[in-house]
Symmetry: D2
Subunit: 306 residues, 4 copies
């Protein structure tokens, strides 16, 4: 199957792909529950996908857990008031995801990615706009804030392995052991399958981040299992693999009309050339700046610091 090679970090897209591959595209998948809701104020479609069994996980190709997708078609545009609505709705969804945020927590926010590669800088950029409290609380106590309850917020932009020579997971494990947060949030730029989702979709999940296929023993995993604390991941697709876009276009243009063999050398060469290439919108630099602000605002709202 061709489509199964299409890369997506979004559970929503993985779910769609599996459904479309089936004969009856709206038959439910065992072990997968889907809830849909439309939020008017932020013009946002909210889909919650719950993968509740191992079979469900296998079918979708994503680990068991909860996935919330916010689709906000206007998010790529420069409307400040609109972005404020998105931030509020995202804060609302974070309260749903993070266990017991009513009580004071110590929260580590990690921004993954390479700040020198525009489309990958989302994570580090979110960190730059975040309100941090841990060092103030450690130095002056709660008296420094005029509030009854205040979370201890710290953050980290660990960089990328090619620059550090270390796995991101090694750095994060070390920092968690030293600073003992209750919970970790991790922000990352994702790859989507569908260009319509570029910079218009936010995914929250309590499964953390599990690089690669989701099978086996991962020293690189950023999950509750590997780190010992709950890990909530927030991601926005900022790129589509160039190979994925060609495959999608072929599908859309009428898969019935052509037949070719993915193992044929000419076909393989064509896709190999697309390797290491990605598709992005022309004003990606401006878009990333805006998105990172929207997400850091959501975190500031969710943590009630402003």
């Amino acid at each position: 199957m061709f489509s199964s090679q299409i890369r997506t970090d979004l559970a929503l897209e993985a779910h769609e792909t599996v459904q479309n591959a089936g004969k009856d595209s709206h038959s439910p998948i065992h072990g997968v529950e889907v809830q849909e809701r439309y939020h008017k104020k932020s013009n946002t479609q909210i889909t919650r996908v719950f993968i509740t069994t191992k079979n469900g996980a296998k079918a979708i190709g994503k680990p068991m857990g909860r996935y919330i997708t916010m689709e906000a078609p206007n998010m790529a545009e420069a409307d400040e008031d609109y972005h404020r609505e998105i931030s509020k709705e995202l804060a609302h969804q974070l309260h749903y995801m993070i266990p017991d945020l009513k009580k004071e927590k110590s929260i580590l926010v990690v921004g993954l990615g390479n700040r020198d590669v525009t489309a990958d800088a989302l994570g580090p950029d979110v960190i730059d706009n975040l309100c941090i409290t841990r060092h103030i609380l450690q130095e002056y106590g709660k008296a420094a804030y005029n509030k009854e309850h205040i979370h201890s917020i710290s953050s980290l932009a660990p960089g990328v392995m090619a620059k550090n020579g270390m796995e991101t997971a090694e750095i994060i494990k070390g920092v968690i052991e030293q600073t003992r947060p209750d919970i970790m949030l991790v922000i990352d730029a994702l790859a989507a399958r569908n260009i319509r989702r570029l910079n218009t979709t936010i995914q929250l999940t309590d499964t953390g981040i599990l690089p690669g296929s989701g099978v086996g023993n991962h020293r690189n995993a950023l999950t509750r299992e590997s780190l010992g604390i709950p890990v909530i991941a927030i991601g926005v697709p900022t790129v589509v693999d160039a190979a994925t876009i060609v495959r999608s276009a072929l599908d859309l243009l009428g898969s019935s009309a052509y037949v070719f063999d993915p193992d044929e050398p000419g076909v393989q060469k064509t896709f190999q050339e697309l390797n290491n290439m990605y598709v992005t919108n022309k004003d990606i630099d401006e878009t990333i700046k805006r998105l990172s602000f929207t997400i850091s605002e959501a975190l500031n709202i969710a943590f009630e610091i402003s």
Copy 2:
């Protein structure tokens, strides 16, 4: 014809496309001369395309004039010595293009593009590394340099219309009228058809820059006709249009195997979505930094300032 919609700024690619569309792909096109040469030291394929008649221009879809393409497959990599060789060869080709550079000239170098959009920042970045002499010569005369003959070099990064509210051509015309250079060089990031040419190809031409189809009366043209002085353009393809890459992949995957109608609504919608999207390599930020240095070094060598 499908391929005719493929966008390229490279005369070499336009020429290839026309040839491939013909039955005998190596038959010459009237009014178009092609010379090829391999330069060993810089591992560079140099192709000179001369469009000598109006019919040739019409056939290729590019204005009459001289086009030199340097294809250097390793140019995207980080080898300093190799980049020095490319700079030298590009300087050599500039001496061929620029009339009578043995005599002292006053040269304006213009870097087109938006410095806040990574893939479009090539022009402004080249300007940043250039050795400028005009203000020194005006203040202190030739005595400031220990040289018999010295060009007067000035530069400008005019920005983009969306930020200035002015046509780039308006700004450049005004500056030329005030400072009266003998010749203008203009650096720009281009779009290619073939991803293999991304960041590996440099095009020089004495036709200047003529936005759009190349027909009619252009207030935006940067050409000898519109500016009154010779205009040499240097360009490097840094992006491929997303629609172009899908079209190219379809062609490669076997155009005989599928048949579809480009005017069909579904097909149109597919390509519309690709609008405003481009394909680029993952380390484009680093690549642009390197390329801009290679080109500014070439200019510094060509003008004998260092």
Copy 3:
């Protein structure tokens, strides 16, 4: 006199210095009128200095014209609502300065300075946040805006002579001749005498910008005389010369207690070393970002575009 060597771009400081040098520090200077007002909402002290005669200009060392200084001690801090108030008040003062802004005008906004030198990047950064309309009006007419009256706004960040090889004035003259604006606004980073004024003071003046001593024939002047249209300058002091700060400290620490000869070689050497050095606050990078946004917002409000 020592203090007379202290460099300041602020008319207010020049006026203070002259007054302090006099025996009776509050005696009026002929040809100079001063009005003071406190604006509560923005916690801003507004001082208008009118230099009305040649003798007044000579006494102060600044050209004849109107100077408005807004002193906002909290402007260096990160309070968004407060900055909005400053923007509004600055917009109000701009309406006072710019002749007949009720009628539709064509306005060119120029951001002076080097965008690669943090403390000098104020001008180019203001340009980056400005709402530009000229190109839309030229392409689509007033129909593009749902407004009865709309100014035509264009902008330019001409860069600096060391990078361009051209006087900033040459570039601006050329652009004005091509695009024929009714009026020019020019934004620049200034040098102050007093570190308390760093990043807390905005100066508006209708005298434009006259580099150097203010005497003689200037090819570099950006004034109504040299450009043929009214020129309003907006400046914020972002640096204090290192030599100035030492002189000021000496003055403050009790000039009566020490006596030394400014022409003595040891003294000269001490001050020479301070040449090319400036004093700035530690978070200048963040401060410039905030100030440039406050000023561009003021312009957007004054021009009623948002």
Copy 4:
């Protein structure tokens, strides 16, 4: 004493200050040894200060250990060949400082400082240009390099407490526990007393980094004691405190000629205003770029990776 309040991170300056304060300015200080050497090729004055006893440490106000200062007056300028010479000499001094670099080591290089504050970005910028090997060695072993012996190099730019909410030392401790390097190098921007030393001096020391007065129990210390592995610090002064420059100027201008009381309110207020202000050269942005490259090249040479 006035001068004793002058802040410097350089052992060389601290030593000078103590000597100048003594009656006989060239009498040796017990527990402090000084060796001087001039290196012709890089036009560099090299001074080694050894603080060998607790009394020596107390006298100088710096911890016991070895300090090497390279003074290269032309280092602030843009001469590529010259910078190569400095890199080589610095690599040579690193071999002297780092124990037994002939054997394969695992080395962690840490770049301290805030990459968004120009004068403080030296550390993170050095990291950006460093050749990293640890991840390659872990994945492919030594076979990936055509060398008999190869160090395992990793790096970290931990950011600053105001952004992370964590002590830099907490992050570093965690990373060291996870990745177990043999030795740590730490790069930081320093404050000097003398503006002539700005961007022209490199200090190496095996005492690590001990923020504050050098007395007592430090949770923030980056030293062999606190981290359990040897810590070599490399620093370049990029700023002078504004208060320090005024004090130095007063000293130079003839301390005998004036007398004032540092505890007097007027004097205190004058110096308070200078708080949080620093003096730097006008092209600091360009200078930091150059210096960071020179230092990362020195490390690449010292570790024999290129």
